[in-house]
Symmetry: C3
Subunit: 139 residues, 3 copies
């Protein structure tokens, strides 16, 4: 049993979803771990991690539509709005998705379903550099 930890930095040019499946797969490969778990942690409170369909990009457009409808940008009732209309909505979006995802590792690979991809979801409208801590544990 061992632990292997890596820091990834991802630049997000604007609000939206960015596939990180290949980058996480690479971390697992480098770990040499055959069987275990890979944990991906997003060190931010207005960006998060989702697992969703990896084939048709309109899935992620519809997710963004639902997010905008359900979690208003610039709701006048928000008290916390220092950084703009996407500040508070970014925190709520992050909370109802996930700060981390844990994935099974089998045969030194992520053991995802056929249609699953892992995405960094940037909830702010501007450009950011986001940090992910990737920890693989197993035998």
């Amino acid at each position: 049993m061992k632990t292997f930890q890596t820091l990834l930095k991802i630049t997000t040019p604007k609000r939206g979803t960015y596939s990180i499946t290949d980058k996480i797969e690479q971390c697992v490969k480098e770990s040499g771990i055959q069987s275990g778990l890979c944990h991906v942690f997003c060190q931010h409170t207005s960006a998060s991690l989702i697992i969703t369909e990896n084939a048709d990009p309109t899935v992620r457009e519809d997710i963004e539509y639902w997010m905008q409808k359900t979690i208003l940008d610039g709701d006048p009732a928000y008290r916390h709005n220092y950084e703009g209309d996407d500040d508070m909505s970014g925190h709520i979006r992050s909370m109802i998705t996930q700060s981390s995802q844990t994935l099974p590792v089998s045969n030194n690979r992520l053991n995802l379903g056929t249609w699953q991809g892992i995405f960094l979801y940037e909830h702010r409208t501007g450009r950011f550099e986001r940090r992910l801590v990737v920890t693989t544990q197993g035998a």
Copy 2:
């Protein structure tokens, strides 16, 4: 410290929640692991895992009511609707619940609270076979 991994296949006849607590407990027992963590991963993007009250089934009926009210089936604004009205709503429902649950293991048993159960939540209206990867790690 060791890792023990199993694949479970669950048939879901229709939309709804299916208790998997006993099946996961069995995986933990087979692992022989006394103290550690059990990770359950759903390999799909329109079915997910929730932890909720295990006693009164109306809890899960009310959850389904809230889901239908908050995440519309067949919203005309969705672009992704190849597989019907429950296609895109299934992806959003999965995203705001969880693709995986991690549970503490103590004395070779799941260390859940008295009222907690683990449920596979099928978000599609048809019949599916769903795959769960169960990984127990510990000493």
Copy 3:
């Protein structure tokens, strides 16, 4: 590699968010584990764990505002209301946030982002004692 498990009991006087970052940090320190993962599990179905901004308390007031707007207390359509208007809403709030959070451990410390805090979110309006199982695994 080793596993270190602790039970924390937290009294929540009323609905709201309670910082547990320092308490979890203490569990990690006691484990002696340098590199790995820390898993925090809430043994309840109407209290949950969130990671959000740790500086401005209005962030968590706005989260509570959004929760009340999106998940009605005492919705007349709920069937499960034995324990009052906050009973069923508490279960739904718990489901769309998280029963557990897994956090990276580096150099015997939680490796959180600068602005991240871990909060126990009490969804019931009364006073409760909540139990958290904290499991740290690593080398």
